[in-house]
Symmetry: C2
Subunit: 322 residues, 2 copies
């Protein structure tokens, strides 16, 4: 990744039906690494692809400066796909939603009120079908998605344990985010034993963010009729040879449903999601931890940091505050 | 396994509410290997456990000689759990169903009309939710379960390809069982390429019987919103260190549902299943291939043969014909 400067004219080209945006907050998301590799059979499956030499695309919160499309007008705040630059000219279809509620931090639309929020909501409520009293385990638990899954689980009356990669994150999970228990997976030499300790009766729902070794150990600890919404496998994204998962026969013995999902299959639920989550935010019943990097020039480091766990909470990149 | 002879009195003990059975057909089933190892957390989960030194238990078709339980009477034909012996004294709860239809071969109640038939029915229709025109792949396709899945897929209007371990089995699949295509997986050095050849547009439903390398290659070839009913992973049952599956991230990219299931969760559908399948058998629209071994003394070899693919079709063991 490199930073390129150039001079532009802030004006919509004559006759264009595109939208000229001023980018405010950009979102650093793990899937961006995957788009940099080729994934067979998934082209055109919801994400814009990357062209070497062109700016990255990604989720962001932007302000409309000029619009060639009747759906948008100057001054609108929007979130959706934009480019990693100060100003962007985008197709109106890149914009996903107009922002109607501004009594909450605007940056939230890259996180709790944006794609990661919808991911946690869809994966937990729609895919995992949680029931009160069930045992829930979340990996990458302090991250953009995980911290919400844990809080949703508590709201549902579940027992929830999270794993994360540092003491600071573990403290956050237990003391701020309301997880019943949390542990630092990097300090657990035998994950199977660790999970047995936290889940003597087994796991009903494993919200899968990590993949690899974590999944291998979790499958040994699932309960009959357990569910594994497969949200991500971040531990595998940078490997040329992914780790092998050896415990899949437990899917049969325990009759487990393991289901991959993608947030963009659930965007039709966004209004319902906002109705659910906004009151919880306003009343302080759901909190959200952000990790804010300032300035486009710090974008590459912030993005790369996701894969080593440098971020504490949702990684946001501020381009401009208004 | 060893054969033991002893003399018994064919009489129900005074006051017993058990049932005295004459065993006719015994079923050789892959799960029996698993019961010989310990599977964490699955004790009492539907299968009787094994005690070294005691006769194996397994599915069988038996005739009631004497009954201490009001549900059964002398002369009834039944199927359910019995022991690998000529005569067995069993708890009435071991018997799963009374046999009402005897215009079809009695041995069928170990296969197409018994546990494997219900397995194919539940796994395909209930777990995989097939739709006309979908692409279906079945491993261990000529076996007790697989041969039915293929025929159910054809009845549903799907394109179906099966894999099996010999030329004889491949011919059977294509010429007798109505699969669109079939291949011998032992002669395919690159399963991923093989699947691409048979499924240029990808697989909608993979009926998983094999596990390991097959699953690894299949995941690369699944279509978006594909389903994998996980019935068995026979390639892994005899390994001390199971093979690692490295392609699970495709669950996310393709939003795949992979679901383990156990036939005993579906026995309530048995009457509905019989209603569906009996007419098809009588009209010759569904056929069933059996591999019949004669005599208890040939039981151990027949059972062990499952794990090397010696059986061609459902492996039955005849103890007595009536
Ligand atoms: N399916 C969908 O539609 C969808 C949508 C959004 C996100 N996702 C997925 O959801 C997961 C979480 O995303 P997010 O946005 O919430 O990211 P995040 O958790 O905010 O950031 C990534 C975190 O992953 C953890 N991590 C990095 N390498 C790891 C490894 N080798 N093993 C275990 N954990 C590791 C790090 O936390 P630690 O310090 O705790 O290791 C890091 O902070 C990702 O897998 C992502 O791909 C899926
Ligand atoms: N979930 C449930 O409730 C349930 C119920 C019944 C059965 N099952 C499972 O369904 C599967 C099929 O059972 P079945 O009764 O129909 O058995 P079957 O197919 O009649 O017999 C087993 C067959 O498995 C194949 N096989 C053996 N080793 C293999 C390997 N290393 N790789 C690939 N294939 C191998 C052999 O056929 P080839 O010559 O083609 O290799 C063998 O003939 C098994 O995995 C079983 O555990 C599950």
């Amino acid at each position: 990744m490199e930073i390129v400067e150039s001079t532009i004219t802030l004006k919509l080209p004559e006759g264009s039906n595109e939208v000229l945006l001023k980018n405010l907050y950009l979102s650093c998301d793990p899937y961006m690494r995957n788009l940099m590799s080729y994934i067979e059979g998934t082209k055109d499956e919801g994400f814009p692809s990357y062209t070497p030499g062109s700016p990255l695309t990604g989720f962001g919160v932007s302000k409309v400066l000029e619009s060639g499309h009747t759906n948008y007008e100057k001054g609108d705040l929007v979130w959706g796909f934009t480019k990693w630059e100060e100003y962007s000219l985008v197709a109106s279809t890149s914009i996903l939603f107009k922002i109607e509620h501004t009594d909450v931090p605007l940056s939230y639309y890259t996180g709790i009120l944006g794609m990661p929020g919808m991911t946690a909501y869809a994966g937990f409520f729609e895919v995992a079908s949680p029931k009160k009293g069930e045992n829930v385990f979340v990996s990458a638990a302090s991250g953009a998605v995980g911290q919400l899954v844990g809080q949703f689980a508590k709201l549902t009356g579940c027992y929830v344990v999270g794993s994360a990669g540092s003491k600071e994150k573990v403290d956050l999970l237990k003391n701020k985010l309301g997880f019943d228990e949390a542990f630092n997976y990097k300090e657990e030499p035998d994950l199977n034993a660790t999970l047995k300790r936290y889940f003597p009766e087994g796991i009903d729902i494993y919200f899968e963010n990590a993949g690899g070794k974590t999944l291998d150990a979790v499958l040994l600890n699932m309960r009959v009729h357990g569910r594994i919404p497969v949200c991500g496998m971040i531990s595998q994204y940078n490997l040329t040879q992914p780790e092998g998962v050896t415990t899949l026969a437990n899917l049969i013995y325990k009759r487990i449903r393991m289901e991959g999902f993608a947030v963009f299959d659930f965007y039709h639920l966004y209004p319902k999601f906002l109705e659910f989550i906004l009151p919880h935010i306003r009343e302080g019943k759901i909190v959200y931890v952000e990790d804010i990097a300032e300035g486009l020039e710090n974008g590459p480091a912030a993005l790369v940091g996701l894969y080593s766990g440098r971020n504490v909470g949702k990684q946001v990149l501020v381009v401009a505050r208004e």
